[in-house]
């Protein structure tokens, strides 16, 4: 006997909308089982994990804060993936963007005026775009595999950051600790809505909406989708695959770089040997959870951020290990992907006899 996945001829529209809900329900059910098995109250665990963070203003703000860089990076990645360019290196573009955004407040701490922050943001986006263009150029010029090159450049970027923070950019007054000087107020991203959120959140939302319009309503959006689904058809329409590779990588890099600059400027206020708890990689999950649609990504980013905040809540409330929170995050992703797969495919169980008439032992 074996199990096969057979592609469905027609996909249910209703199930496509329902599948994330089913996935979350299945995750909640599994989480309840895990809580019970580890000797904790499952109802309390579920409440702390999924509900309580949404009921308090501060934890809602924390969730949005955590979601912001994920959404911004994922939006850029969605453009890449839609156009069949597999940029796995957003983590590196995030870091290089942060470096480009930080040279001003670190090397010229006295340059403090209204232009400081805009210059930092532009330079951060530029840095991320330049870093992303390396694998793009390698792909268009030498036909290298961009999955590999963009991923490898992540390690180069994080080692460069490490070197700078321990060496030339180390805080002269920091007792030899590997960290840069703190940014001045002029270089700090302001807070909005009465201090509730950093300016990064509205910027991110605006960019996500602009991208959603770009994808749905413009020729460029059409080009991106056509080239992703059928490059041959696209080339007949006069679209350039190479041009689109450069465009999508540069855009994704710029957004990751902007996210990196806003993270160091708004949240950290200095450079540290590690500035990202894996945002660039988590954003890949967010992009696919959001179905490569900027508006879907906003929701997906929020759900994933909620799983982090909820994970911390169950740790402190129930005293469960932080590994259990990671398991629940993994389950969420697993169920989302599984539900999606079952929309596209159906399961067929085939019982067959081995050739020669011998009965199968299975």
């Amino acid at each position: 006997m074996r199990i096969e996945l057979v592609k469905r001829k027609e996909q249910s529209k209703a199930m496509a909308l329902l599948s994330p809900v089913i996935a979350i329900a299945l995750t909640a059910l599994s989480a309840a089982i895990i809580f019970s098995l580890t000797g904790h109250n499952p109802a309390l665990g579920l409440y702390k994990f999924f509900i309580e963070p949404l009921t308090q203003q501060w934890s809602l703000e924390a969730t949005i804060d955590k979601a912001t860089p994920l959404i911004l990076i994922a939006c850029g990645l969605a453009i890449c993936y839609l156009s069949n360019n597999w940029n796995i290196g957003a983590e590196g573009q995030f870091i290089i963007g942060a470096l480009f955004g930080s040279f001003l407040p670190i090397l010229f701490p006295d340059f403090e005026n209204g232009a400081t922050l805009p210059l930092m943001l532009v330079s951060g986006a530029l840095g991320g775009a330049l870093w992303a263009l390396i694998p793009a150029l390698l792909k268009t010029r030498f036909n290298t595999n961009e999955i590999l090159t963009s991923l490898m450049l992540v390690y180069v970027a994080s080692l460069l950051l490490d070197y700078l923070v321990r060496g030339p950019w180390r805080d002269p007054g920091g007792f030899n600790f590997p960290e840069s000087r703190m940014f001045s107020d002029a270089a700090t991203l302001p807070e909005v809505f009465g201090g509730a959120l950093s300016l990064a959140t509205p910027i991110t939302l605006v960019i996500a909406i602009v991208l959603a319009v770009l994808l749905a309503k413009t020729l460029k959006g059409f080009e991106i989708r056509v080239m992703g689904q059928s490059p041959r058809a696209g080339s007949f329409a006069g679209f350039s695959a190479k041009g689109l590779t450069l465009f999508s990588f540069a855009l994704a890099g710029a957004l990751a770089g902007l996210a990196g600059t806003m993270e160091v400027s708004g949240a950290l206020n200095q450079l540290l040997p590690t500035i990202s708890p894996g945002y660039g990689f988590t954003a890949i999950i967010v992009a696919f959870l959001g179905r490569l649609n900027p508006l879907g990504i906003i929701v997906a980013g929020f759900v994933l951020a909620l799983s982090y905040i909820g994970g911390e809540a169950v740790q402190t409330a129930l005293g469960v290990s932080n590994k259990i929170a990671s398991v629940i995050q993994g389950l969420l992703l697993f169920f989302v992907l599984a539900c999606d797969t079952l929309i596209l495919y159906r399961v067929r169980v085939i019982s067959r006899r081995a050739p020669g008439g011998e009965a199968s032992h299975v």
Binding site: A25, A28, A32, N41, P42, A43, L44, L46, Y47, K48, I51, E52, Q56, W58, S59, A62, D65, K66, D162, R166, F175, N176, F177, P178, M182, E263, A267, L268, N269, Q270, L272, P273, T274, I275, P277, I309, E312, A313, Q315, T316, A317, G319, S321, N322
Partner: protein, 354 residues
């Protein structure tokens, strides 16, 4: 969906019941940079928490978060603690310093205790221990036991605390053997078993027969055990991981400090201070001496007693690596000089990263 709503309602009731039932007088919360199972730094802080739980019983409620990365995640974790009613919050890694100060400003009624940092506020105290006192003792043991006359030191970051540890170790060793030499490897991490093990192997290949470390994992001792050389446990008693290799360990005992500070919160007389205690106060404890001849054990115990009676390892004559005098005969360095130490003593086979 219905059952989910029911479960939520049930949970809400439980939460209400839970908060009514917890009649603890004080809530203490802890944030750790590593897993509580690292058997080093974070493990010892959690042992301190458990000591406090045992001491106070029902009067104390605790919570902790482990493996919290330094940065925005730490800030959020601290804010969560403050909002969940923690009265006193212990932030147990240097890298939480700026986040501690930031969150403390927002919650003036909550007491914060930051380990190993240098920034304080009205509601932020700092605490640390004089680990270098223990390092002087293990330096003496190393010089007695080493056949090659060279020890290897696996170091984390070139911050004053680590540099002072290296110097104290070598001063102890030179008090036994004036020609004793020390090789240093910087691994630039507090906890990375792979890197630490590689460093230990490299040092042993260079002819070192005693390994000591200022990193948190048990890996260097395990390498020492495999390769038949000896070493010392760091932060906790690591004898389980190196039965034949460990001579002793410098154990961080945070329990007494945590109990004292929580008591002060209960009594309402907690004040922001900078605590820096050592062997005499019981904050630094030497693990049982093993795999050592009796005369070496006697020497180590004598030094322990000497330190308990007020003697300080950084007492002259001390010569810096460049040949200048750091302390004349009989002169003791003051706390500031030790806490800001950025020079090697003579005999270190390394250039201090600047």
């Amino acid at each position: 969906m219905k059952s989910l709503l029911k479960a939520t309602a049930a949970a809400a009731v439980l939460v209400a019941a839970g908060s009514a039932a917890s009649a603890a007088d004080v809530k203490a919360c802890f944030i750790y940079v590593g897993p509580v199972g690292d058997f080093g730094w974070s493990y010892q802080h959690d042992q301190g928490r458990l000591d406090a739980v045992e001491h106070f019983g029902d009067k104390l409620e605790t919570a902790f978060l482990e493996s919290v990365p330094e940065g925005p995640d730490a800030e959020r974790a601290l804010e969560r603690f403050a909002r969940e009613g923690c009265n006193i919050i212990f932030t147990t890694s240097f890298g939480y310093m700026n986040q501690t100060i930031k969150v403390a400003k927002k919650f003036p009624d909550v007491k914060f205790e930051h380990a190993t940092g240098y920034k304080t506020a009205d509601n932020v105290a700092t605490y640390n221990s004089k680990f270098h006192q223990g390092r002087y003792i293990i330096g003496q043991i190393a010089a007695k036991q080493s056949k090659t006359g060279v020890a290897g030191y696996i170091a984390s970051f070139p911050i004053p605390e680590v540099v002072a540890g290296i110097n104290a170790f070598l001063l102890g060793a030179q008090s036994v053997n004036p020609d004793f030499k020390l090789k240093v490897v910087w691994v630039n991490t507090w906890f990375d078993p792979g890197k630490e093990a590689d460093a230990a192997k490299a040092l042993i290949d260079q002819g070192v027969d005693i390994i000591t470390q200022h990193t948190d994992s048990t890996a260097p001792l395990q390498v020492a055990q495999e390769r038949g050389v000896h070493g010392f446990g760091q932060a906790s008693d690591m004898i389980e991981f190196a039965k034949d290799a460990q001579y002793t360990a410098i154990v961080d005992d945070w329990g007494p400090y945590y109990i004292e500070r929580i008591q002060e919160v209960l009594d309402g007389n907690w004040k922001s201070e900078s605590t820096w205690d050592g062997i005499a106060e019981g904050h630094v404890v030497m693990a049982p001496y093993t795999n050592l001849p009796d005369d070496v054990v006697a020497m180590a115990k004598a030094t322990e007693d000497k330190i308990k009676s007020g003697w300080e390892p950084f007492t002259g004559p001390i010569t810096k690596q460049d040949g200048t005098v750091a302390a004349e005969d009989g002169v003791t360095l003051d706390d500031g000089a030790i806490l800001g130490m950025n020079w090697y003593v003579q005999g270190v086979d390394d250039k201090l990263p600047q």
